[in-house]
């Protein structure tokens, strides 16, 4: 079975259980706070990339505003925790809910648009969100950011080092990926893919495409908000600069390199592109060059990414597994 078809199930435990056990053992073997910190960041980006994959990968929508929802989640958690003293276990889901409320509002307004128009509107939202965070000083402290966010707690014990955060993000990643795998293999998940494949045919099969696309957006932005909430309690400081358009593109790059429309794709992409810049520090100023070359290589040779669905971007590279399967006759007019 190709990697992009992988879905964790009870029957294929031998494929995912060793990975999970290895990840559980990792912090026992590794003592370095620095390495654990990188692992925690990889974990945050796994959620961000996997959630963006729901809209951009499975449903085929072009959302370019993911960092805005990440930021809304982070600021929600930061404001609730510092002003109202709400504990971590509540700020985290609330961050998701507030982000997905914005997601729903944007989706209802913009999902009548398709393709490049949706992309432009979400970029616009991304910029507006940044400017509002930067200028609404009474709520967000504007350019000063929000410091002093309390750390995450597990059973009342505040986490101090990265080891605790590592286990927390590992649990959160496992939960989020499990939920996403359940969603995308469900009837609704098939409807997402059907909309991506052929919206007219999806409508003709009786899928109410507009509400389904809105749902896809809401789910994706919910998880982005969750990632933001975790980030706020881990970094313990949030500032608007962390959630700009370049952050959206970083997440999008991870998704494209890892591969869209599959479960392992975004996980691989996120871990790879978080680890790569750190691993290539010895290259000093050539680091950016290597990063760029890898991106160009992926686009040229394997446009569907490391573990993406072949042909999902309607091009084909030299290293792609398969040609886009298409009818030899009668393409839709």
């Amino acid at each position: 079975m190709p990697l992009y078809e992988f879905v964790p199930r009870r029957s294929n435990w031998h494929a995912w259980l060793p990975v999970l056990l290895g990840l559980l053992l990792f912090p026992l073997l590794v003592q370095s706070e620095y390495l654990l910190n990188i692992a925690v960041y990889a974990g945050i980006y796994v959620i961000l990339t996997s959630s963006l994959n729901i809209t951009n990968g499975y449903t085929g929508l072009f959302s370019f505003g993911h960092a805005a929802f990440y930021g809304i989640g982070a600021y929600t958690a930061a404001i609730l925790a510092t002003r109202s003293g709400i504990p971590f276990w509540l700020t985290l889901p609330l961050a998701g809910i507030v982000a997905s409320a914005f997601g729903a509002a944007i989706a209802l307004l913009t999902l009548r648009l398709g393709g490049i128009f949706l992309a432009l509107v979400t970029i616009g939202f991304q910029e507006i969100a940044y400017l509002v965070i930067l200028n609404w000083v009474s709520l967000t402290r504007g350019p000063m950011g929000i410091p002093g966010i309390p750390p995450a707690t597990i059973w009342g014990v505040a986490l101090s080092g990265n080891r605790g955060y590592y286990f927390l993000i590992l649990a959160l990643d496992t939960l989020v990926l499990f939920l996403i795998s359940r969603i995308v293999t469900s009837r609704v998940g098939r409807a997402f893919v059907a909309i991506r494949e052929d919206e007219l045919a999806a409508q003709s099969a009786g899928i109410a495409t507009f509400p389904t696309k809105v749902l896809s957006f809401v789910v994706a932005t919910f998880f982005a908000g969750i990632a933001g909430g975790f980030f706020a309690h881990h970094a313990r400081f949030v500032s608007a600069d962390s959630f700009r358009l370049d952050e959206t593109f970083a997440i999008l790059t991870m998704l494209i390199v890892g591969g869209m429309g599959s479960l392992p794709g975004p996980v691989i992409g996120a871990v790879f592109l978080v680890v790569l810049p750190e691993a290539s520090r010895f290259l000093a100023e050539y680091r950016g060059v290597v990063y760029g070359l890898i991106l160009i290589g992926v686009i040229l040779f394997r446009p569907e990414g490391i573990a993406g669905v072949p042909g999902i971007i309607r091009t084909r590279g030299a290293l792609s597994r398969a040609e886009k399967p298409s009818a030899e006759e009668g393409q839709p007019a």
Partner: protein
């Protein structure tokens, strides 16, 4: 069963359908003929709710559907087989069939119906795990029809099912359409292939630049001088 009364449709300022009236009765096989740009596909889109008429009414089993969304039309019992098949290339044959049953919630009934379409199209059973896009054009047409059947429709609307198929599959497709009709499913067949369509249809309508110019029994249409001139003696 399906009734269009004085339906007019336009895309922006361009009016495509002019005061179109058409009826499909219970269990009937009706064909809608016409050349390129005569409004056949727009008629189909209007019935399905993909575009809404600005004048006129459409009723299905007594219920008005001219303001309905495509999802509501499918739920009401009309299943479309779209032009050029439009199967989902990245979904397997089995998943494509499941998409056809999207509006249904009876898991046991869906399983049973999938078995029944597998019996009808044994080839699909063989290829159930294969991606839809890897099937040949004729096989895709079988899949498209099977997918439509999984909605348990009372009526099928088929847009140019013979287009782009080999002669063998054209014949096969028309046999299947006739078979489905005999089982009691009403069919509106939108076709350019007038000869084949009239051979199996009960009645026919002829569209020209968005207006119905002829409507009669299939038998009479075959012998109509205008039909002979326009379609049958190419």
């Amino acid at each position: 069963m399906l009734e269009l009364r004085g339906v007019s449709t336009r895309y922006g300022p361009v009016q495509v359908l002019w005061n179109l009236s058409l009826t499909v009765r219970e269990g009937e096989l009706v064909c809608l003929l016409g050349g390129n740009a005569s409004g056949k596909s727009t008629t189909m889109k209007t019935i399905l709710g993909l575009v809404h008429p600005f004048r006129g009414e459409i009723a299905f089993r007594g219920q008005p559907i001219h303001r309905a969304t495509p999802a509501q039309v499918v739920r009401a019992g009309i299943a479309p087989v779209l032009e050029s098949r439009r199967i989902f290339p990245e979904l397997t044959v089995y998943e494509n069939l499941l998409m056809g049953a999207y509006t249904r919630a009876d898991a046991a009934g869906i399983r049973q119906d999938i078995d029944r379409v597998y019996d009808r199209f044994p080839l699909l059973r063989q290829r159930r795990g294969q991606l839809g896009g890897t099937l040949s054009g004729g096989e895709q047409q079988m899949l498209a029809i099977a997918r439509a059947l999984l909605a348990r429709p009372r009526m099928l609307i088929m847009d140019e099912p013979s287009m782009g198929l080999s002669p063998l599959y054209v014949e096969r497709t028309f046999e299947i359409i006739q078979g489905l009709n005999r089982e009691g499913i009403a069919i509106l067949l939108v076709e350019q292939n007038a000869n084949m369509a009239l051979a199996i249809a009960d009645r026919g309508y002829v569209l020209q630049t968005g207006r119905i110019v002829l409507s009669d029994t299939a038998q009479n249409l075959v012998n109509h001088p205008m039909m002979r001139k326009a379609y049958l003696e190419l």
